[in-house]
């Protein structure tokens, strides 16, 4: 047993007396079904996101013989990323950097404008949790029914519902994990391979892994992910300000909350304190406490409250989308206008535009030829019997075209230069013809011999000029020619 000091034991007793503990039990959230425009919008986004996720791998895109015909394919095995008519090589990874920068800045911009809508509508955690909750409701019923059944002792009715629920969850999770794999290998092929037990170990491993994570995160962890695991809520406060539109309880209208009968002489707000907003909340919070870490800005409480307002004959939108500044003004009976253009948003927009322009230009001017020349590390140079100096290089030629091509390599900057490719027995000659297969990298060991005439500190620049003889595309790589100091 652990030994703790007397004083510490005293503290523990004191905490228990106050109902305080160092570790908290999980409070189960039973969100109640809501109907209304926000819910309809959230369903629409959910269906759209899931449709894209599940169906995109099945979209075909013809690229020619011996090329994958999947529209979106991250082929790690072949080191290519296909995105519709674009093809990326591993060395194009900086496009991914650009894309991530744009995604991050877009997130900042959207958050500073309309709050955490990413969290509320499009985050996979939200989308799958929502889907799993829908399944749960279909099988186990709505909030009250579920709470009642969970409080009862085990019964056959309870067990079959739970078993069915988890079975359906696992089914969806499996479909999700399987769809994930299809972004990395050809979808129809891997589907057949998967069920005939001929797929690779990786395919099975990652399918099971993502099945497990989907099931655990969307079925069991849910709001715990948002509140305790996700870093995003922690730094959202840096992006929100008084001008950000968020899900807001209009306290000036609602307070003081009044249940039941109202009296002429007692001031009463529109809030009837029915708790509909709390029971509708998928993270189990009370929106009337204001902006808080747990709020994912989904707005389901708006629908719940509107419903009650309508029934009690009060104006709707007691909970609404609004800014802190507007709320402060309204509380004093003033009106404000929405300020979308703020230094913060302008900076985000310009950063976004800049990244977009740089990316687009880079993408449009991307060449299908690439050259890199590595000087041998040892020996730096050798003197040949005829007195010339010779340097060795490793030349890598990237042929991004779909045709095998003959590349012509020559140099500039060295007197009486002659190139040779000893492995293939080419040269010495003033230019070399090197064949590179379609869609691949050719590696050649090339030597350049000549009489350096402007060595500084033992080296002088030498330009390797490469031309694709089929497309006439050309590129230059500056390397160094070494000699005695």
């Amino acid at each position: 047993m652990s030994r703790i000091s007397k004083a510490e034991r005293q503290l523990q007793l004191q905490r228990e007396e106050l109902g305080d503990h160092l570790y908290a039990n999980r409070v189960r959230v039973y969100p109640k079904t809501v109907h209304g425009p926000v819910r309809r919008f959230k369903w629409t986004v959910l269906v759209f996101c899931l449709a894209v996720y599940y169906l995109l791998p099945w979209l075909r895109w013809h690229r020619g013989a011996n090329q994958p015909d999947q529209a979106v394919l991250l082929s790690l095995w072949h080191e290519r990323f296909y995105f519709f008519n674009l093809e990326f090589w591993p060395q194009d990874i900086y496009y991914l950097t650009g894309l991530l920068i744009m995604a991050a800045v877009t997130l900042f911009l959207v958050t500073s404008l309309i709050g955490r809508v990413w969290c509320g509508y499009t985050c996979p955690q939200t989308v799958w949790t929502d889907l799993f909750m829908w399944v749960e409701r279909q099988i186990e019923g709505d909030r009250n029914e579920r709470m009642k059944r969970d409080a009862e002792p085990l019964s056959f009715d309870m067990v079959w519902r739970k078993v069915l629920k988890h079975a359906v969850w696992l089914g969806i999770a499996f479909w999700t994990g399987g769809a994930w794999i299809m972004y990395y290998v050809d979808a129809p092929t891997v589907t057949v391979e998967f069920w005939t037990a001929t797929a690779s170990k990786e395919v099975y491993f990652f399918t099971l892994l993502f099945t497990a994570t989907t099931y655990l995160l969307a079925g069991w962890a849910r709001e715990q992910v948002c509140t305790y695991m996700c870093p995003w809520p922690r730094f959202q406060s840096a992006m929100l300000d008084e001008q950000t539109v968020t899900v807001t309880y209009q306290g000036w209208r609602g307070e003081p909350r009044t249940r039941g009968k109202r009296h002429e002489d007692v001031p009463a707000g529109d809030c009837v304190d029915c708790g509909a907003c709390v029971t509708a909340c998928p993270t189990g919070i009370d929106i009337r406490d204001g902006i808080q870490l747990e709020c994912i800005n989904c707005g389901l409480c708006i629908d719940a409250c509107n419903h009650v307002m309508e029934k009690t004959g009060r104006p709707q939108w007691l909970i609404t989308w609004d800014t802190l500044a507007d709320q402060a003004a309204k509380a004093q009976g003033r009106q404000t206008t929405l300020r979308l253009l703020r230094p913060r948003t302008l900076i985000y927009v310009s950063a976004l535009l800049l990244a977009a322009v740089v990316m687009t230009v880079a993408l449009l001017t991307r060449s299908s030829i690439d050259l890199s020349v590595l000087h041998d590390r040892a020996p730096l140079f050798v003197r040949l019997p005829d007195g010339d100096l010779r340097n060795g290089y490793t030349v890598k030629i990237v042929n991004k075209t779909q045709q095998m091509a003959l590349f012509e390599l020559r140099t500039e900057g060295l007197n009486a230069a002659s190139l040779a490719e000893p492995d293939e027995g080419l040269g010495p000659a003033d230019r070399l013809g090197l064949m590179v297969k379609a869609d691949s990298i050719g590696t050649f060991r090339v030597t350049a011999a000549g009489q350096p005439n402007r060595l500084v500190g033992g080296s002088q620049p030498i330009d390797f000029i490469l031309r694709n003889t089929e497309t006439a595309e050309q590129t230059v790589y500056r390397s160094q020619f070494m000699g005695p100091r």
Binding site: S5, A7, E8, Q10, L11, Q14, R15, L18, D20, H21, L22, Y23, A24, N25, R26, Q224, Y228, D376, R377, A378, P379, L380, V382, R383, L384, P385, D386, G387, R390, G392, A420, P422, D423, R445, T447
Partner: protein, 288 residues
């Protein structure tokens, strides 16, 4: 240090009762499942301790009940790779150089095997990439003393030079100075003449040197200093120098020649490796 739990006025939350220099800690409890995850990792570690090598001792260590060892794992992998390579190396051994060079895959394998064998065995003397150093020929340059064809290179690697092996290449340059064949001033004159052959002419008259060269040296090194590979006589009309191109070095070499030794490698390396080495050395740039 523990004091007492109190309510914080600003947040309305209780403190944990811990206070350090007046700083009090608010009690914002961690979810219990988080604690259980920590326990699960501890349990995982305990299982790991039993299964895998863990506790060090004085003379050994507890090897774990799975008996796993990284060294054994590496050995297994190395043996697997050797088995995988065996077919390729057998092919390299059986086929001729011409046949190997026609097969790009075999060629690539030989090149890698050769490069590694070169780094392990040849590099200390001949330098990385065959750059050479004084007394040790620059293999990449191509100033071959005994020949630069694949067969000639293979022969040199297998049996060496002056190695004592029966099939070793052997040659002996006369000790013109030490044995008194040429007088000191004659050696100086020959040196002057030899230097003109590789583009380092002197102001002095070299006619006497030319005569002395023709009488004493041309029989091996050739009239024009072109060398003789049959005799292992280096080409003198060349910018590739085994030792140095200074006058002192030439004089020293004529007076008391230094003749290097290369060991025979057929006793240490297998035939396929020697062939791979020959292919690699040949590809360094000097191959003929």
């Amino acid at each position: 240090m523990p004091t007492k739990v109190e309510k914080d006025v600003v947040t309305g939350t209780n403190t944990t009762g811990h206070e350090w220099d007046g700083l009090k800690e608010l009690n914002t409890p961690l979810p219990k499942w988080w604690l259980y995850v920590l326990y699960a990792t501890i349990a995982w570690a305990a299982v790991w301790f039993v299964l895998y090598p863990s506790v060090p001792g004085i003379t050994g260590y507890f090897p774990g009940i799975l008996g796993y060892s990284q060294r054994a794992a590496v050995n297994t992998e190395v043996r697997a790779i050797e088995a995988q390579r065996a077919g390729t190396m057998d092919k390299i051994k059986a086929l001729s150089f011409t046949e190997i060079r026609k097969d790009p895959q075999l060629m690539a394998a030989a090149e890698v095997a050769g490069r590694i064998a070169f780094a392990n065995n040849c590099q200390p003397c001949h330098g990385a990439g065959g750059g050479g150093q004084p007394g040790y020929p620059a293999l990449a340059a191509g100033g071959w003393i005994w020949g630069g064809s694949l067969d000639a290179i293979e022969q040199t690697i297998a049996y060496g030079i002056r190695s004592g092996d029966d099939k070793a290449r052997d040659s002996q340059m006369l000790r013109f100075g030490v044995d008194g064949i040429l007088k000191p001033d004659e050696i100086q004159k020959v040196a002057d003449y030899v230097m003109t052959m590789y583009g380092k002419p002197t102001d002095r008259d070299v006619s006497a040197g030319r005569k002395l060269y023709a009488d004493n040296c041309a029989v091996c090194h050739g009239e024009a200093g072109q060398g003789d590979r049959e005799k292992g006589a280096p080409r003198l009309a060349s910018h590739v120098h085994l030792h140095d191109d200074s006058r002192d070095a030439v004089v020293a070499q004529i007076s008391a020649p230094r003749m290097g030794v290369m060991p025979a490698w057929h006793t240490r390396l297998d035939e396929a490796t020697i062939k791979s080495l020959a292919l690699y050395v040949h590809s360094l740039g000097g191959g003929e």
